[in-house]
Point group: C2
Chain length 189, copies 2
Amino acid sequence: MELLKERILNDGYVIGTKVLKVDSFLNHQIDVSLFNEIGKEFKRIFENMNITKILTVEASGIGIACIAAQYFNVPVVFVKKHEATNMDAETYESEVYSFTKNKFYKVRVAKRFLLKEDKVLIIDDFLANGNAACGPIDIVRQAEAEPVGVGIVIEKAFQEGRHKVEQTGVPVKSLAIVTSMSEGKIEFK
Amino acid sequence: MELLKERILNDGYVIGTKVLKVDSFLNHQIDVSLFNEIGKEFKRIFENMNITKILTVEASGIGIACIAAQYFNVPVVFVKKHEATNMDAETYESEVYSFTKNKFYKVRVAKRFLLKEDKVLIIDDFLANGNAACGPIDIVRQAEAEPVGVGIVIEKAFQEGRHKVEQTGVPVKSLAIVTSMSEGKIEFK
């Protein structure tokens, strides 16, 4: 997606060897008109898959998922990463390892919101080591629903995320695939 | 907003005396078409205030803010509640007391994303004790920007939130005001 790549080149920047900072338009400040173009692109890619629900992970996936859902006419469900006192007792849970925090944490979805007949598109802002995507896939399968695809805004192809997600059998489509960020220079596939 | 009140009556339910559960359409599963109507209503209410930015709090405010921002043609910024390794060093911070967690936590916005000339609409899903709204107001004022209004989807009028926010001088507009939930029966103003 050219518009996205241009935006990453113009407004993104690299910290160290692994962090691509895009918080001026993607995950802190949000450019909603860009999100609309992202939503249309996800719709084009996953058009014929009879998606019934979009699943994402709080917090930075929620905006992308909500804007994209307008093009699919389906509800969004977001996976909860943090304990909440008013959460249902009946939940699907998965454990996700966080490299940045160096620990496992639980992700949860109330059972009421995933049905056997659901065909679920999982959307997230980044694909890096793949753990954040594998948790939702696991949850969808616990519900005996079908994870039909993973839609990613920015994939860091030099990390193992794609390999890990593809091992689950779920296809991954990324709108921008960064192959290298060495010496601060962002290169795309 | 009648559509919202009907939805709360149909799909919401009360737990104990203070929790109104609306997670089938507002803050776990999201009905994006309802969010569009909510967005239009916020636009109608805050139309003439020259809003330049919408500020919300992660996680459940993000979807509402993004959908609403389409009607204002402005960016969204979301206040971060959780530590992130890739956060800017230069941030505005405020301390917010959480009744459910019985502790203070910090909320943060990178300084780059709030400018002196910004007229900021703060949007959130609930107004209960008011702390979640006062943190963002404090942050906007630290940036010497103007908090022009607080837009709330559901206000629980039997808690002290409105009083606390109005003490800051910022007007509060709520789309549904719940005056009582005693014995599980939801009543609106």
